[in-house]
Every structure is written in structure tokens, then in C-alpha cells.
């Protein structure tokens, strides 16, 4: 028998359950979905590393930068499109800048091979989606890092990256490496990998391997937050474009055209 002003045990439990959900779940939902509150976008550091690719100097048919990078970082070459691993590579301009009208904006042709690599975005979408924080943006210099120890191979980051800068090790990486560099680890099957802006050497003031190996001087690496840096001077004096700027990821790789 149930009286009007009484709540039985079952109803009480139901009510308190709903109340608990609202009480704890509400603020959490706001925290997760509220805009502008992601760690990924945070940046007050003095250093933000970036790169300028001078497409006018980059020589057609030359892949010195990619060879040097892939050699130094033990990037495997499996000779198969399906298993391909890429840190830095060339792609026809129309694949990188899809929204241009190549008949009118004719600084470069649609089929001109352009260099591309991880953009080390100021607001990286890969970092937002990583469930284990295996990829994150380093606060002191803006490099988007990978921790291969922690990567579980879910490939969310690959889906999130609008630039295709990430590759997954479907095949055993060591089988695809002709010459091992003992100073840098390989990866294992089942992890995602990408360019690390030569994080292991730039701390000592050296340029990344791709920049060092470019004989044309087409690549410039430097601090985007320093107005007197060489890269900032280049960007000031030359017209430049970024890949998919409208997405708001704010790439740190600029193309001088």
C-alpha cells in the first residue's frame, strides 16, 4: 500500500540515482565539452618550433631530406603502399592544398611535388583524441610528441589528423629497415609514428636532419615566437601559406610560395 506523501524504497533509490547522475555528471560533461578548455591548445611558452618550406627552392626529384630523416630515425620501407611509414615525404600540391583554384592562383602548379611532414600544430587534433596521452604537445617548445611506450595502437590520432602525417606499423618495422641507426630506437608493430622535429638533437642547438641535409637551403627551422628569428624574418618578407588553415589547428609548418 502506498500513501501519497510517502516514497517507497525502490522509488527512493531511483530518485537518488538520477540526482547523483545529474550532480556528478553535469559538471563533468561541461568540463569535457566546453570549448577552449583543452590542454592541447594551451601555449604561453617562449619557444614554438616551426618550419618554413621554400617551395621555390625545393628541387624536383630530390628526396635528400626524407632519406636523411628516415635513415636517422629507423623509419622502415616495406615497399608496399598498404604498410607505408612516412615521417617526411613529397606529395603533389593539389593533395596538400585542395581548396586552391589552380587555374587562377598559379604561383605553383597542381602537380608540383611539395614536401610535407607533421605540422606540429599549435592546436593539435591528434592530441585531443588520444585516450592514453601517448601523444601530447610539449609545453616548453610546442613539439607534438609521441610516447611509443604508451601508444596502444587505437589509431584515433590518425583519424583525427587532417594532414595524414601519422603512420601505423601494420608490419614488423625491423623487417623494413635496410640500415639500422643504433642511436635511435625502432618501433614495434601496433604503434603509430610520425615526425618528432628531431627532438633528440635540437636541444643541443642543431637543426633537424631534413634541414641539415637540404643542399638547396629550402628548409628553415626556428622559433616562431621569437620575432628576430630567421624563420620569422622569412615569413615576414615572403608570401606564405599553411595547410588547411581554416580548420583552426594552426600548423607550425609554413610554405613560402
Amino acid at each position: 500500500m502506498k500513501l501519497n506523501n510517502e516514497v517507497n524504497r525502490k522509488e527512493f533509490l531511483k530518485l537518488s540515482g538520477v540526482a547523483a547522475l545529474l550532480g556528478f555528471g553535469g559538471p563533468l560533461a561541461f568540463k569535457i565539452y566546453a570549448s577552449g578548455e583543452f590542454d592541447a591548445a594551451e601555449s604561453n611558452s617562449k619557444v614554438r618550433y616551426g618550419m618554413a618550406v621554400d617551395t621555390r627552392k625545393c628541387k624536383e626529384g630530390c628526396t635528400d631530406c626524407a632519406s636523411a630523416c628516415h635513415l636517422k630515425h629507423n623509419v622502415p620501407d616495406h615497399k608496399s603502399k598498404k604498410n607505408e611509414i612516412k615521417w617526411i615525404w613529397k606529395e603533389p600540391a593539389k593533395h596538400l592544398f585542395q581548396d586552391r583554384d589552380y587555374n587562377i592562383e598559379a604561383e605553383f602548379s597542381a602537380d608540383m611535388p611539395f614536401l610535407t611532414l607533421c605540422n606540429h600544430c599549435k592546436n593539435p587534433s591528434c592530441v585531443r583524441v588520444c585516450p592514453t596521452q601517448a601523444t601530447w604537445k610539449r609545453k616548453d617548445d610546442g613539439i607534438v610528441m609521441m610516447d611509443y611506450h604508451r601508444c596502444i595502437g587505437c589509431r584515433f590520432c590518425m583519424a583525427a589528423c587532417p594532414y595524414g602525417s601519422r603512420s601505423f606499423n601494420y608490419a614488423e618495422p625491423r623487417k623494413g629497415i635496410a640500415k639500422l641507426n643504433p642511436d635511435f630506437p625502432t618501433r614495434t608493430r601496433g604503434v603509430v609514428e610520425k615526425c618528432n622535429f628531431c627532438e633528440e638533437i635540437i636541444g643541443t642547438g642543431k637543426n633537424p636532419y631534413c634541414v641539415q641535409s637540404c643542399k638547396e637551403g629550402a628548409l628553415t627551422f626556428g622559433n616562431l615566437n621569437d620575432p628576430d628569428s630567421e624563420i620569422r624574418k622569412l615569413l615576414k618578407n615572403n608570401p606564405s601559406i599553411k595547410r588547411k588553415a581554416g580548420l583552426g589547428t594552426e600548423p607550425s609548418v609554413f610554405y613560402l610560395v
Binding site: 636517422k72 629507423n74 616548453d140 610516447d147 639500422l180 643504433p182 630506437p185 614495434t188 636532419y209 641539415q212
Partner: protein
């Protein structure tokens, strides 16, 4: 009163069941350990040439500490180097070392089979460090040709 039938059959069954269920334990204790276990040689000395060349007095920490805690230390190093960009280790004597498994530890403990595998194997642990990190021994031929190829880029 309680009366039990077929005592012999029942107890035989129970005995066989217990013997099978506990097989892994007594197998390990009485058979495997007696026949296969070999105490790893605790007196293998590392080649200290690398340490001396770089002006270090010896290993980064003393023997007892390294034996007991090297796995914890390496785990710390891994997190600090990769995630916090702290790449220098200052030991209890105030010496500065580069935090690197292959670049520091294995430079003296250059024989992985002796210094790593012998204990890991008998202790039954399988660390996955060397799935990625490259030891000098396993790829000697590849390393030599490598050294020439990358010489021009420094």
C-alpha cells in the same frame, strides 16, 4: 549415521584429481628447478672503457643499488626523457650522465646476453626494451655499413 560407499574408488578419484590440479606447482618445485635452473654468474665485470674515457669513476650507482633497482631507474629515465625532456641524470656522486639505455648503460655492459639476458631468463622476466632499442651485438654487420652511410650528416 553417515555411511560412505565405494571408499576406495572415491579416494582414488580425489587423489588423482588433486595430483593433476596441483601438477604445475610441484612440477616447478621438484622437477624444473632441479634440472634447469642455473644461477646466473654474478661476477661478470663490465668493460669500463667507456666510463673511463668519459671521466666517470664507474657505474652510475653502486652494484647493490643497480641489482635491486635498475628496472625502476630505467622506468624513471624513460618517463623523464620521453615525457619531461629531462635528459641528464645526476648520480649520488654528483656525476652527470646521459639517460640512455643503449647510449650509456650498454656502452659498458656491452654484452647483452651476459648482463641482461642471463638473469632475465632465469628469473622468467621478459622486458620489452629491446623490441625497439637496438643493442650493438644483434646487428653488427648492419651497424658497420650504417656508420659509413650516415657519416656525412652530423
Amino acid at each position: 549415521m553417515f555411511k560412505m560407499y565405494s571408499k576406495i574408488k572415491v579416494f582414488t578419484g580425489v587423489f588423482i584429481f588433486l595430483a593433476l590440479a596441483t601438477f604445475p606447482f610441484w612440477n616447478k618445485v621438484f622437477i624444473v628447478s632441479k634440472t634447469n635452473y642455473e644461477m646466473p654468474d654474478a661476477n661478470i665485470k663490465p668493460a669500463l672503457a667507456f666510463a673511463r674515457e668519459n671521466g666517470f669513476s664507474g657505474c652510475i650507482e653502486d652494484r647493490a643499488f643497480m641489482r635491486a633497482k635498475h628496472m625502476k631507474l630505467l622506468n624513471h629515465w624513460r618517463n623523464e626523457v620521453v615525457r619531461e625532456n629531462k635528459k641528464t641524470y645526476i648520480n649520488s656522486k654528483g656525476e652527470h650522465f646521459n639517460k640512455s639505455l643503449t647510449g650509456t648503460c650498454l656502452k659498458c655492459h656491452s654484452n647483452k646476453e651476459e648482463f641482461c639476458d642471463s638473469c632475465h631468463t632465469s628469473a622468467g622476466v621478459k622486458p620489452y626494451c629491446f623490441d625497439c632499442h637496438i643493442t650493438g651485438i644483434q646487428n653488427t654487420n648492419q651497424l658497420n655499413s650504417k656508420a659509413e652511410a650516415i657519416h656525412e650528416i652530423k
